[in-house]
């Protein structure tokens, strides 16, 4: 337990100290929220546009922090042999992974709080009516996306390529799944692609819980699909994750 807390603290220190990563994954969704919120007006899904965008960008924030950020960090640490170095210490691998996931959860929880505060301050969006459901969404989202992020890191070979590969996945996914705004006017084909991606279900969940004030537990489909994607991430991670650099 002491080791776990020590490692969570270490992960937090490393995350906030490396400005580029923190800006890229933490600030970017907030910035996008302000920009999109300023150009969309009127109503979406029968609610003010800024509220709908907040719910959507909550999903994008999760994809950035837990999926993109974690995958890039892990590839870099692997290729720089930081992971290999840690393996020689008494820190158990299970504790390391648990601390990494917890730290990701902390960052995404802070991101969520920042989104709601920013929305309130800039656009006057309300705080969520169902705080417990939003908290559950944060936990489920960060765990499932982090699992996929760990899995993805096992598929990326080089440190230089990691942020390109990750962006190539995250940006189109966000666009197709409504994380940048509603998709009902998209061609049917693009919507069909979006319908199989995990971010769609996180955005759906976010819409249901925040915009429509549904309970988290009433969203069985979204929870099920997210868990399935998370499980797929765990399976890929199990077979592909490496502690040591891939020597060419």
């Amino acid at each position: 337990m002491k080791l776990y807390l020590h490692q969570v603290k270490t992960e937090q220190l490393v995350y906030w100290r490396s400005r580029e990563a923190a800006v890229f994954t933490f600030i970017f969704p907030l910035l996008l929220f302000v920009l999109l919120g300023s150009v969309y007006s009127g109503h979406i899904y029968g609610v003010p546009a800024s509220q709908a965008l907040l719910a959507a960008l909550l999903g994008y924030g999760c994809a950035m922090v837990a999926f993109a950020g974690l995958a890039i960090t892990l590839v870099l640490r692997r290729e720089q042999a930081i992971l290999k170095r840690l393996r020689a210490t008494p820190l158990p691998p299970v504790t390391y992974v648990a601390a990494l996931l917890s730290s990701t959860l902390v960052v995404f929880a802070l991101e969520t709080v920042a989104l709601f505060l920013l929305g309130r301050a800039v656009f006057g969006t309300p705080f969520p009516a169902r705080v417990g459901s939003v908290a559950l969404l944060v936990v489920l989202g960060s765990l499932c996306f982090a699992a996929m992020g760990v899995g993805l890191s096992g598929l990326i070979r080089s440190g230089e390529g990691s942020s390109a590969v990750v962006n190539l996945i995250v940006l189109p996914m966000a666009f197709l799944t409504g994380a940048f705004g509603p998709t009902h006017h998209y061609p049917r084909f693009l919507r069909a692609v979006g319908d199989v991606l995990p971010l769609k279900y996180l955005v759906d969940l976010s819409n249901a819980v925040y915009l429509h004030k549904h309970s988290f537990w009433s969203q069985g489909t979204a929870i099920g699909v997210l868990l399935a994607w998370g499980a797929a991430g765990v399976v890929v991670a199990f077979f592909k994750f490496r502690w040591e650099p891939r020597e060419a």
Binding site: L3, H6, Q7, T10, L13, V14, R17, S18, R19, Q80, A81, I82, K84, R85, R87, A88, T89, P90, L91, P92, E244
Partner: protein, 282 residues
Amino acid sequence: MTAISVRGLRKAYGPLEAVRGVDFDIEEGEVFGLLGPNGAGKTTTVEILEGYRRRDAGDVSVLGHDPERPGRDFRERIGVVLQQAQLWPTLTVRETHAVFAGYYKKPRDVDEVVELVGLADKRDARVKTLSGGQKRRLDLGVALVGDPDLVFLDEPTTGFDPAARRAAWEMIRSLRALGKTVLLTTHYLDEAEQLADRVAVLREGQIVRIGTPRELTTGDNEVEVRYHRNGEEVVVRTAEPTRFLHELTSEALARGEELERLEVRRPTLEDVYLALVDEADE
């Protein structure tokens, strides 16, 4: 007490046999050097002992543990400097030491270790601002902060300038003074000669010679005799220097000649080493 015992160690990567039957023992408190050219199997051997790789065959005991089943106790007692590992670039020297200290049950005092590896004036500097030599010292500090009994150093001075190498050597000598057992790999001969109590020369996955640096050079009695005759250098290697010199000098005296630039030289460790590793190419 024996810190490391290796018997019949073998490891292949596909068709490539990296380690082909290696035996050696390292006593507690000893500084042991694994010397050999690149690709001789040094790193593979060390990484098996560190618990990174599985062996194909052989018996290995490190501090009484089988490194294939490295428990917490094993990890508590070893310190590792990898050939090329980086640490978090944005943390400071002190923070990095403190992070690693937190992994051990009985760490050394962080500031003391920072001081020991000569980074006291850099303690609040970010890791990314350190020079190559300073980064290696950070690696060493991080390996020592858990107060290990056994320290693995894989090519600790590769890429150093001469001044940084001497500084690193001083530090490795200080490990001996602390009573640590050290396993050091290097492809620099002078490094092995300077630092190691005993050296094993590895070539193509096998130990071709093992002993103290002195034993390696005095293993045979061969000397090299050089002199000049009619302006040309003559070099003779002989295992019977007494008889050879007697005959050579008697002959010269009889002719009333002086042997110009006469020199009798024992082979240096370098001569022995080069002869050992060159045999492969012949």
